[in-house]
Symmetry: C2
């Protein structure tokens, strides 16, 4: 991670665009919502939005940028989704073909961009409630696991749910569940607690992405749905083109984390979730 920590997301995005900030955004505690990016050709976008609707825990949509624009006018006016993320991944027919800092050359067709909520927002709320988070203490990337749980498919998009894991002291478990329940747009409450074999994880010390963390004696592993899920879905169901952020390298919006605290006026019930 860069030692340069800008105070406002606009400045950070300019630094990223200029190639001056290339690191993970995970350690930047600006109090602002960070988002997962999924970008698809317009021909694939309907199916992906239906997929998000059916899988709101891994894929909580916070903004859709229609074809013809790359500016998320609700969450980060002035930003450009083609240049303002430190690292992108490009999947063609399910295969990772490029890791790059600028995707402009891939955007010569009509693309639709989706910003999905990220667990950094609820981690901030957990920390504020006195619940410490191991991978933040360790300054590493949260461990992520591909599970044996299927997402709810569409005609052509399918694949397993990906989860993040945080060890939580048993006596703080209830509080951790309550707090994250209040943030449904950033993955919400856990999808699983404890027995990791039940969701097809073989070895907690060997995550599929990120770094392993120690689980202490009085702690149990708690699993939340993860915004990396669409990338594994791309690998399985092989859409012609899907561009995403690289894990840990998120899009930093102008929105305060508190914006996503549950609020009926901006809630919607999701039957299919």
């Amino acid at each position: 991670m860069s030692s340069f920590i800008p105070e406002h997301p606009k400045i950070l995005r300019q630094s990223i665009r200029a190639g001056e900030f290339l690191g993970s955004t995970g350690g930047l505690h600006l109090g602002k919502v960070q988002a997962n990016l999924v970008m698809l050709p317009v021909s694939e976008a309907l199916e992906f939005l239906i997929f998000c609707f059916r899988n709101p825990k891994p894929c909580p949509v916070i903004e859709v940028v229609e074809a013809g624009s790359f500016e998320p006018i609700v969450s980060a006016p002035g930003a450009d989704l083609r240049t303002d993320i430190p690292k992108y991944l490009v999947y063609e027919n399910g295969t990772l073909v490029s890791e790059t800092t600028d995707i402009t050359s891939y955007c010569n067709q009509q693309m639709v961009s989706f910003l999905l909520g990220c667990s950094y927002t609820f981690e901030s709320a957990l920390l504020n409630a006195g619940i410490s988070i191991r991978h933040i203490e360790q300054n590493t990337i949260v461990p992520m696991y591909i599970t044996s749980v299927d997402t709810k498919s569409t005609n052509n998009l399918y694949g397993p749910l990906v989860v993040t894991m945080r060890p939580i002291p048993t006596k703080q478990l209830e509080k951790a569940i309550q707090i994250t329940s209040l943030y449904p747009s950033v993955h919400g409450s856990p999808v699983h607690v404890d027995n990791y074999q039940d969701i097809g994880i073989k070895n907690l010390s060997k995550p599929d992405f990120g770094d392993p963390v120690e689980i202490k004696k009085d702690e149990i592993p708690v699993f939340w749905a993860c915004g990396i899920t669409p990338q594994i879905v791309a690998q399985k169901s092989k859409p012609p083109l899907m561009i995403t952020h690289a894990p840990g390298h998120m899009f930093v919006t102008d929105l305060d984390n508190d914006k996503f605290l549950i609020n009926e006026s901006i809630l919607i019930n999701r039957l299919e979730g």
Copy 2:
């Protein structure tokens, strides 16, 4: 309304399909969720789903049926959306071209179907809480008004918000707001209370759809977002084809109304709403 009131929605849908039940579904208190229908060619569907995402109060999506099928497998397995609604409206380029009981002949291209929540669900909860509803007492159709409030547009879909109005005794207002807030998937809390001129309504006794209702001395008019909104959006923004239910003639699902009581596990935060 027909005097025949079947006890199960499956039986009702069969009767509708057979042409034996042609009436409004408004008076059928089966305790089941009724839904608004919007059906569009696949080429128009992405934009409509983005429109719903941006306007969750008038357009709360409860199920999407992908092109190639007309069976809502989550909310009404076995049903056929082309035949199981008592009356449909067909809009071509924004003009109403047909009122019909069977839309099979319009479905020879790839169509995507959207079921949207309907206020009958929260009305049931209001009645259970001792709040009487004038148009139900009168056995008429709820008054609906086209407002001066714009929906949040997409590139090609735009138009005014449509609202329903129910007179509520001032002393029950707080309770009515609280209860409907708990049902975000069926339009949720009111969008406006009292001064109807503020939202561009000229005369409460002349609704744009439905029937006028009396407002008593101790009551104030309360306005909720209405699922007819997409039909007015179709008239304004003129998509090549949009098929909807006729007002008051809803799709009756198998789902219990209680299913839509707020529940974090099926909630999602909607920033753009």
